[in-house]
């Protein structure tokens, strides 16, 4: 919407002077002008902080007492002297990464304070100190680092656009600078070119980069079978075609990475082509399809659009596969310990292979008014009261049985949905018919093994059928770690049902 309103304003000079333009421009602008606030709130939620404090930090970063980030270059920058820091009085309008870092920092400070401040003073001290400490660190440390990066990017960009190959490189780098939130000062370059009476040759580069993101994102949208991916990717790609690439980049292409690489290549080729055809714009502010309103040669511009988007689309279509989805989705939380996860995978791969289904579950070991639950692994079945851990034996976790396993494999005791897989992989929760809440816990105290020797085949939200293999475990490793390997199998909400029976009942 913002792009469209601006394009109309630039294409029809009279329209820009109307009250309607002013009004539409303001509304369209709002979310972008105050983007840091929205980013801060969602970041605070993700990092587990207080979202109101997050909002305050976001608001502070775009306070009207600070120079608007979009105006840097056209106005004098003022400074505050704080301790031994020179703090630039510049806001963070349109920034993403500095805001996310600031809010992450805020959440750490907030959690630390919650733990160390006496409860009586908590309400008063924590919000105050959190906001003060966060904003101080943001403006004195995070801010200057990004300001410096922006300056370098700007200087680099000015050099690069002088020849076609430089333009090609810039077309490749462009989306990455968007990711870093360093693309706000490009307007300065465009305005500079126009002020010198030359054509704006920056705009075709930006267009190539943006329309390539459109191509990559659209390919994901059309190829994806997962409905969630589809409904994000298709609208995001359309907005990218209109020059607003953030949804496509952050929501889709970066997540799967390969489309981002395809977009980079498409952008590079398009930008190179644009420079060779000597394309230029007569104004600035819009890219993509609305760019037709300000471009000097519409026909070569069409070629540029088709080539950039086409290359990105085709490459994405070829190299991106849906199967990557779990890996990409898991990448975020798993990123913390990727190396550890890899070695676990490698070790898990050495386990003996078991068939994908088994009829061991035909033997009912727990029964109640809601249904029957089958034996989860081959072996001797004992009642829960004989389990080698008082926690289970006393029934605190519900009633059920233990199986002394003969094989290192667990099968689903009933049809149901996986409700949890422990980070340490040794316990799986299943919701069975009529909300039966089933816990399968392999071994006792095996949480200490931190996942080594366990290989789940399901993840949270998966549907399973009775008898399906859901987990493999290494009995030798459990023994080596000094733990019993009894498979604990409990109906945790057994008191919700009538006529509960279990093998070995007295």
């Amino acid at each position: 919407m913002m792009g469209l309103v601006e394009a109309l304003g630039k294409a029809i000079p009279n329209f820009a002077a109307t009250d309607w333009y002013g009004f539409l421009d303001m509304i369209a602008n709002t979310a972008f002008a105050y983007l840091p606030v929205i980013v801060a709130i969602s970041a605070a939620r993700v990092f587990g902080g207080n979202i109101f404090l997050g909002a305050v930090v976001g608001l502070a970063m775009i306070h009207s007492a600070l120079l608007n980030a979009w105006s840097v270059g056209s106005a004098e920058i003022e400074y505050w002297r704080l301790l031994f820091f020179n703090v630039r009085k510049v806001g963070y309008q349109g920034h993403v990464i500095p805001v996310v870092i600031a809010v992450w920092l805020m959440c750490q400070i907030e959690k630390w304070l919650h733990k160390h401040v006496p409860e009586m003073l908590d309400l008063f001290i924590v919000p105050l100190c959190t906001v003060l400490a966060t904003t101080f660190l943001t403006f004195t440390i995070i801010g200057p680092i990004f300001a410096q990066l922006e300056t370098w990017v700007l200087a680099g960009a000015k050099v690069l656009v002088r020849n076609p190959f430089g333009a090609g490189i810039m077309g490749a780098l462009y989306p990455w600078t968007v990711v870093m939130g360093l693309h706000h000062m490009y307007n300065v370059i465009e305005a500079g070119m126009l002020a010198e009476g030359a054509l704006n040759t920056w705009m075709p580069i930006a267009t190539a980069a943006n329309i390539a993101q459109f191509g990559a994102c659209l390919a994901v949208g059309l190829k994806a079978r997962n409905n969630k991916t589809k409904v994000v990717a298709v609208p995001s790609s359309l907005s990218a075609a209109l020059g607003i690439t953030e949804p496509a980049i952050f929501g889709v292409n970066m997540r799967f990475l390969k489309p981002m690489i395809a977009g980079t290549i498409g952008g590079a080729v398009g930008a190179l082509l644009g420079a060779i055809m000597k394309l230029g714009a007569k104004a600035y502010g819009v890219t993509g399809l609305p760019g037709y309103l300000i471009i000097d040669k519409p026909f070569p511009y069409t070629i540029l659009l088709l080539v950039s988007a086409g290359i990105a689309f085709v490459i994405t279509w070829v190299i991106w596969k849906e199967e990557e989805k779990p890996a990409a989705a898991a990448a975020a939380p798993a990123a913390a310990a990727p190396a550890a996860a890899e070695t676990l995978e490698a070790k898990a791969a050495e386990l003996p292979q078991y068939p994908d289904t088994s009829d061991v579950v035909a033997n009912t070991v727990i029964g109640c008014s809601a249904g029957e639950l089958g034996q989860v692994t081959k072996g001797n079945v004992i009642p829960y009261t004989q389990l080698p851990d008082p926690l289970f034996a006393q029934g605190t976790m519900g009633i059920g049985v233990g199986v002394e396993p003969e094989e290192g494999v667990v099968y689903a005791p009933c049809d149901g949905e996986i409700t949890s897989v422990a980070d340490s992989r040794h316990a799986i929760g299943i919701e069975g018919p009529e909300e039966m809440d089933i816990l399968i816990h392999v071994g006792v105290d095996t949480v200490e093994m931190k996942g080594d020797g366990f290989k789940p085949f399901v993840e949270e939200g998966d549907k399973v059928t009775k008898g399906q293999k859901i987990l493999e475990f290494d009995r030798e490793k459990i023994k080596a770690a000094g733990h019993p390997d009894t498979v604990v199998f409990l109906l945790t909400n057994s008191d919700d049902y009538e006529n509960v029976t279990f093998t070995g009942q007295e």
């Binding site: 587990g48 926690l391 605190t396 519900g398 929760g429 809440d437 945790t492 909400n493």
Partner: protein, 85 residues
């Protein structure tokens, strides 16, 4: 609906034994209780879903209580959290 926030100070977080106790405490109140951590939430009567939240020391959880005497239930649960987590 009544809700309160709580930052977990217990070393193990909402894990096996404490989770089992929590389910019992929640059932005793007769209210519907949701435990939320970040964007994830779980019905507090499901032990496995609670464990699936992966709540560890330092996490802030939001406890939402809904029922006929939610005021009293929320107060009871807040005491329970302070004593056990």
């Amino acid at each position: 609906m009544k809700e309160f926030k709580y930052v977990i100070t217990d070393e193990v977080g909402i894990h096996a034994r404490p989770a089992g106790l929590l389910v019992k405490a929640v059932k005793a109140t007769g209210s519907t209780v949701m435990i939320c951590k970040g964007e994830k939430s779980a019905k507090a009567t499901s032990l496995t879903k609670l464990m699936g939240l992966g709540v560890v020391k330092g996490d802030e959880v939001t406890v939402q209580v809904e029922g006929p005497d939610e005021e009293a239930a929320a107060a009871t649960l807040e005491e329970f959290f302070k004593a056990n987590f």
